[in-house]
Symmetry: C2
Subunit: 397 residues, 2 copies
């Protein structure tokens, strides 16, 4: 029997892989200016510091770090995460309410594994991060998109959906949302925590960009308003230390965290110890704050340059001005199609992600997402000029 | 609504976490001699070499290693794995037929994700590694155990089961099996590859212990007899370099590997780059072979010491003499219960894993698994004396 007769699991029906990751492969062309990714700048990756830390940690406790670790995570990291969460995200939790994971993508996977049966409903922002939409789809959940406005996801609509649809979970990115760059207002953060307890819906709060704030006031996490344990908080060090290390964490109620921990036993046994220890050293030795401060100075300049040029860019009808993060979301004039125009842009040497991919049911063909972290100010100027040329030409034709 | 009303996914029905990992937690008592784990010896963990490698690699290509990597894996590692597989496992595959994963546990998870719908049947050896039985159960598959004898899993029974039950997958550990220590014979390896193609069953071949051979002749992998692509080979560096690094790989037919890769996008995006680069350096610089040779000298002495004492141990009716690996599987006299006796043993300061946990449907209460890699020859002598005392006393009472 040839392998062509293999029967795959039904969870893959209609799944074809991350559209974004496929776009990324096209960007390997030398000289391409990519506004498509969500990667940190090369200059933001602390290679020398990590080199010395890795050596020091392995020489000092290599026999522990190279051995099997606990699924529950590297003890010192759990201990240093607790005060970090209190300080940065304004909620209190004990070390045993925190599970270090292999990137916060794994936190999403484990929450789905713990909670989702096929056919269950999961509410997502419309638009939202498409990687995690794929994660949810692989658990054969039904996505229920709820629109957002300048204050983030609309809690009036959300309450209607909670009431009528009885979803298992809400997936929400409260700060500098991907792709919109929007930040959920304080009132709505409080309201979402209330709705969660009122209707018995788990909130998967995904907050990887929070430390990348360039202007405005910090807001407490949704989880800081959580009295009953319905909010599961997913954090990541991918945007502020290194994505290549694959270290994130899940902070949640103990019973939910226990299910996720059992799920993780079969996912990868535990997250690599050395990688957890490097992040722990960043927290424990106060290396993170000054590093983030330095990154933010540069990202702020890149964002402001891009925003300034976007204001003058042909074909752009409107865009959202974020207070931080990595992305700017924009809309072209009615009738223009960012997906179709991407080919011409890539030919000119600049790329972005069409916004339609971020909507659970597509549409919104005139939207697109720009990333500014991976390009220098000079590259941003050149890339925006190319975009302006293509979009302007398209309006004429 | 309190969190107590949370509704978990049905995949967790009847799942309570790995029994072995729970036993391990009891072993933290100082002075405990543990024959329970499956960890490499501390002396087998190359902390100094990894410290220098990590530093060198991060200084040399830290900007790449700390950045997002491809889900498909770190390119250089895929390239160095191909000749390694040819040399060590006797099968040919191209770099794009190899997916580096976050420990071979993830390979099992991804194969299940790609293939298993609830109710599908998965054949396992009886007994087998309980961690992967849990992985399979979390996909709500039905386990179909097939007995093994001195030549490994019985292929006559296997063919009957393939014919009648139409399973999706066979999970098999061909070399120094966990827990039995048995090695699948050459004839049966060939036969399993044939049966896979004949009946359209994916073979999940798990071969992490192969390099730990202390006596006897090496055998080619089942995959070396695979003509149609039905054999998926899972490898690991946990037993020969470091489990804490979490690097393994899956070698499989491209279409199956593509499904696993899409599954991995949502599991953890990619395996940590630094960890892949360290393993790559071990392969590329020929550091692995001499390291393994050194480990094997020591493990062989530990195994032979344990086997010698087991021959004289009270209450032990029979045991399997392995040619390598980490485990010895033994049977107590009829009527003795290794699970019940464990408490007395732990009280005396020695531990093992009751064999019943390794059988899909339990039973076999008189069996137990001993590990020799984590204990020195002196500790093995002491521990076996304690076992002898407890087992002998139990026979008298």
């Amino acid at each position: 029997m040839t392998i062509d007769s293999i029967r795959y699991a039904s969870r893959f029906d209609g799944i074809s892989g991350s559209a974004i990751r496929e776009i990324f492969k096209l960007l390997a062309v030398p000289g391409m200016i990519s506004f498509a990714g969500g990667n940190p700048a090369a200059s933001a990756l602390p290679d020398e510091a990590c080199a010395e830390l890795a050596r020091e940690l392995l020489l000092e406790k290599g026999k522990t770090l190279l051995q099997y670790g606990a699924t529950e995570g590297y003890g010192p990291l759990r201990e240093s995460l607790a005060p970090y969460l209190k300080d940065r995200f304004s909620f209190t939790c004990a070390p045993d309410e925190i599970l270090p994971v292999t990137g916060s993508t794994q936190a999403m996977d484990l929450l789905c594994k713990a909670l989702i049966d096929p056919g269950d409903k999961v509410v997502v922002e419309n638009p939202t991060f498409l990687g995690n939409m794929q994660a949810i789809r692989l658990y054969q959940a039904q996505l229920v998109p709820v629109d957002s406005d300048d204050d983030g996801i609309r809690t009036d609509e959300l309450e209607e959906v909670f009431k009528k649809e009885h979803p298992k979970m809400l997936y929400v990115i409260p700060t500098f949302q991907n792709p919109t760059g929007r930040t959920l207002s304080l009132a709505r953060r409080r309201k979402i925590a209330e709705l969660a307890a009122q209707y018995g819906v788990v909130i998967a709060e995904d907050d990887p960009y929070r430390d990348l704030r360039y202007t405005g006031e910090e807001l407490p996490a949704i989880k800081s308003f959580d009295t009953e344990g319905w909010v599961a908080f997913m954090g990541s060090f991918s945007k502020v230390i290194s994505p290549g290390l694959r270290v994130g964490f899940l902070a949640a109620n103990k019973t939910l965290l226990r299910k996720c921990t059992i799920g993780k036993q079969s996912s990868d046994v535990h997250t690599a110890n050395l990688n957890q220890a490097i992040v722990d050293a960043y927290l424990r030795r106060d290396l993170l704050a000054p590093h983030v401060q330095r990154i933010c100075l540069s990202y702020a300049e890149q964002m402001n340059t891009m925003l300034g040029l976007l204001a003058k860019c042909g074909g752009v009808a409107r865009y959202i001005r974020p207070q931080g993060g990595l992305f700017i979301f924009a809309e072209l004039n009615d009738g223009m199609d960012a997906g179709k125009l991407l080919t011409a842009c890539v030919d000119r040497g600049v790329a972005y992600v069409p916004g339609t991919h971020f909507y659970a049911f597509g549409g919104h063909e005139n939207t697109f997402r720009l990333n500014f972290s991976m390009s220098s100010v000079e590259q941003i100027k050149q890339g925006m000029e190319k975009l302006n040329d293509v979009f302007t030409a398209s309006m004429r034709s």
